[in-house]
Every structure is written in C-alpha cells, then in structure tokens.
C-alpha cells in the first residue's frame, strides 16, 4: 500500500496542471466575456446569457465526451489532456464571468461617475478603480471556485488522464482498500485546498481592514 500512496501522491502534478490551466483560462477570459453581459446591445447580452447557461447547465462529463469524442468525429483529434483542459477551461470561463457579474453589482454607480468626471480612460477606469474593488468583491468566491475546480479536474480520469482520482482508481482495482485509498486521495485535495483557502481569507481580511465599503 505504501507504493500505492506514493503513486497517488505523484499524480498530484497532473491534477495541479489541469486545475491551474483551467483556472487561468477562466480568470483571464471570463473578464472579456462579462463585458458582453454589460453591453448595450441586446444581441450581445443574449449571446452571453445563452453561452453561460448552456455551458454551465450541461454536466462537465458530457462536455468532456464532446471535446474528446465528438470533435474527433469532425476530424479534430485532441489528446486527452488537451480535451480535459479545453472542457474545464470553457466551463471556468462561464463560471468566472458569472462571479465577476456578481462582483460588479457591488460597485457603486458613483465610482464610475467619478472616473468619468475625472476623464479617466476606459482602461484606467477599469484597472485603477473598478478592478481593485472587484477583486475585493470576488476574491473569496474565486478561491472557492478554484478549490472546486481542483476536484472537478478528477473528471479527466474518464479519458485516462493520470491525475489523482484515475491513479487511485487503478490502485483500488489492483489492491482493493477503496475506502483507505480514496480517503488518502481526499487528504491530498484537502492539503492542496487549505493553503488556497487560508491565502484567500488573509487577503480578504487585509483588504477589509484596509478600507471599508462606503
């Protein structure tokens, strides 16, 4: 069993790779997407709504099958890891966009007006005024989502990406001890998520101490 523990622990790399890539994709590309939701054009807003609801509404497993097998039927043959990153990444974009949308609701209209009155450019308004307040408004929710993503990455085991759950499954196949091995895998997830949770709490407490919402 000791060997099994080692092998499972070694699979952490793949889990992290999947999580970090998907999270980055979501955090970065969710931002332009949420601009659609704020657009004046009803068509763009409609596109946003459809995208977000369909992407979020369909179970990730189904998207994974579409990315891995469905695209292959169209001649686009992606490796397993790429399919998994693509799937989780697109879901992350939709999710992060929704998180941003909530955060923007926390920012008062007066903040935009002050920026306009000062002739701040769009970029400066976004970067210097809105983003810092948005960051404060969404950082705990984002951390929570990344913790969830960490575990959602286990989905990739279906198509044989050797991340924690896949390797654990293999070891259970050959050794039994399902409960112990899965518990061990769970502890790895816990060990990965707790630092993230702590960092996000500390950041939030610091920001809250630094300035209060007016």
């Amino acid at each position: 069993m000791a060997e099994a523990f080692l092998l499972i622990a070694a699979a952490t790399g793949a889990t992290l790779l999947l999580t970090v890539s998907a999270a980055l994709i979501g955090i970065v590309l969710g931002a332009p997407l949420v601009l659609l939701a704020q657009s004046r054009s009803a068509i763009l807003r409609g596109i946003y709504t459809v995208f977000v609801h369909v992407v979020r509404g369909v179970p990730a497993l189904v998207w994974l099958f579409i990315a891995f097998f469905g695209l292959a039927e169209l001649g686009i043959v992606l490796p397993a890891l790429a399919s998994a990153v693509l799937t989780l990444g697109i879901i992350a974009i939709a999710t992060m966009a929704e998180i941003y949308r909530g955060g923007l609701a926390a920012i008062r209209q007066g903040q935009y007006e002050a920026g306009w009155a000062l002739s701040l450019g769009r970029w400066s308004l976004a970067k210097d005024i809105i983003f810092p307040q948005l960051f404060r408004a969404v950082s705990p929710t984002t951390a929570t989502y990344i913790v969830g993503l960490l575990k959602d990455s286990a989905l990739a085991s279906i198509i044989g990406v050797p991340e924690i759950v896949y390797v654990t499954g293999l070891e259970v196949q050959s050794l039994g001890h399902g409960l112990e091995l899965f518990l061990f895998a769970g502890l790895i997830y816990l060990a990965l998520s707790i630092p993230l949770g702590v960092v996000s709490r500390v950041i939030h407490v610091r920001l809250t101490r630094r300035y209060a919402v007016l």
């Binding site: 008062r108 007066g110 903040q111 007006e113 002050a114 306009w116 009155a117 000062l118 002739s119 701040l120 450019g121 400066s124 210097d128 005024i129 810092p132 307040q133 404060r136 630094r210 300035y211 209060a212 919402v213 007016l214």
Partner: protein, 255 residues
C-alpha cells in the same frame, strides 16, 4: 447668463431631462463667460444637481444643445458621441454632492490618480501636487487616510482637492460646503476666489445664501426644473423679482 457680455465659455440651450414622467430639468438655457462664477440656488429637488450633471454629460439630456469651450453637442435622443463627451469632460472638474471618493485609495492617491492617468504627470509630481491641494483645503494631515477613516467634512474636502488637482477650466461644485464648518467653509471660499482670479469658470449649487452672495458673479434661482430668476446676487437676494424667489429667500431671513 444672458447678462454676461462677450464670448461665452459655456453655452447651454433648451436643456430638458426627464426621469420617467418627471421633468427634472425643464428647458434650461445658460450662457457663462470665461472666469465667471455662477451659483444655483433653489429648493431641494429643484434640479440643481441634475443640471450640474448635465453640464458634463454624466446625465444625457433628452434634448437641447450644449457647448463647453470648443466642444459642442446636440441632444435628440440618439446615442451621444463619445469623443465629444470626452472633450467636454476634459475641461471640466466636478465635486459631487455625495463625494464619490474611491474607497480603496488613500486621500492622496484619490487626488493623484487622474493626474497621472489623464494628465500624464509622473508619480512624484502627481503626489507633490496632490499634497499641495490637500494642504490647500486643510487636509495635509489626512493624506494617507482612507476615505472611510475620514469625517464627513474631510471626505468632502478630498473630493474638492481631487477636482482642483486637474486644473479644470470649468468647475462644477455640488454643495461644496454642505458638510463644512464655517471655518473650513471660509477656506474653501478663499480657494474659490483664487480659482476665479485664475480665470476658472465655476458653477455651483449651494444652500448657503451668504456663500453664494460672497463668491458668485451671478445667481440663478431654480424651481421645479426651471430657472425662474437670474441676476447679480445683490439683486436676486435684495430685490427678487419673482414671488417664488421672495418666498424662498424669506426662509433664510426668518430662520
């Protein structure tokens, strides 16, 4: 004002702004020469804040025309041209009734930010100027405090310093002294006189008649979205033409 002679710096004609059914601004025309100080007085809800907000197009008029300096716009319900709006705002500074400070920035950062981003001043220069403006409004000691750590009057002065630091040609003050004690009020009065001496055009909404009388060249009385009376402060305050103005002003004296 019609009274002002020569070339006007701000020219607003037939501005109308509705909120639903309610006509918050009802066919207001204004003409202000460069360097003039105009005070807007009138009862609560008369439309003073709304008028100021129309002058830098934070609120889009439903109809009318507006020119500030070289930038002119006509409003007819179609989407406004961004470039024109920016040109107007570029000359214009505003002090909000509700301050609208940036809560995540300290006082000095609040004042320095737009200088760096818009005027392209260096970080050091912006900070130096920001401190100078804070000093000017008597707030040097609070430079590194966040807005939430400042008293009401202190927040108001940060807002004033922030607008001043941009060296605007046109300043819009929405009740700049409402939360200020007389002492600080007097300081702000002095600052405004300096500005006027430097040729800054100013429009301010105020409830303090004494303040309006001391600082402004012309006074407009607004009631229910319309300017019902305008003239030199001495004339408006001492010999109001309009019955409504008389009634409004009687409260000041009667208090």
């Amino acid at each position: 004002m019609e009274h002002s002679s020569g070339h006007s710096f701000v020219q607003a004609e037939h501005l109308v702004k509705r909120f639903g059914e309610h006509r918050a601004i009802d066919d207001v025309s204004l003409s202000i020469a460069k360097g003039e100080v105009i005070s807007l007085i009138g009862p609560s809800g008369a439309g003073k804040s709304t008028l100021l907000r129309l002058l830098n197009v934070l609120e889009t008029p439903d109809s009318g025309t507006l020119r500030v300096g070289d930038a002119a716009m006509t409003f007819d319900g179609t989407p406004v041209k961004r470039a024109r709006v920016l040109a107007i705002r570029r000359h214009t500074g505003m002090v909000f009734q509700s301050f609208n400070l940036f809560p995540h920035l300290s006082a000095v950062q609040n004042v320095a930010l737009a200088q760096m981003r818009v005027l392209g001043r260096s970080k050091d220069e912006a900070r130096t100027r920001a401190l100078a403006q804070l000093e000017r409004v008597g707030l040097a000691a609070k430079a590194d405090a966040y807005p939430s750590q400042c008293s009401g009057g202190q927040q108001q002065r940060i807002g004033i310093a922030r607008a001043l630091a941009m060296d605007p040609d046109l300043m819009l003050f929405d009740e700049p002294t409402s939360g200020l004690d007389p002492e600080v009020g007097a300081e702000i009065l002095a600052v405004m006189r300096e500005l006027a001496a430097d040729g800054t055009t100013m429009v301010m909404a105020t409830h303090e008649m004494e303040f309006a009388r001391h600082v402004s060249h012309w006074t407009c009385v607004m009631v229910e979205g319309a300017v019902i009376e305008r003239g030199a402060p001495a004339q408006v305050f001492d010999a109001p033409e309009h019955e409504r103005t008389r009634r409004f002003l009687s409260a000041v004296l009667g208090r």
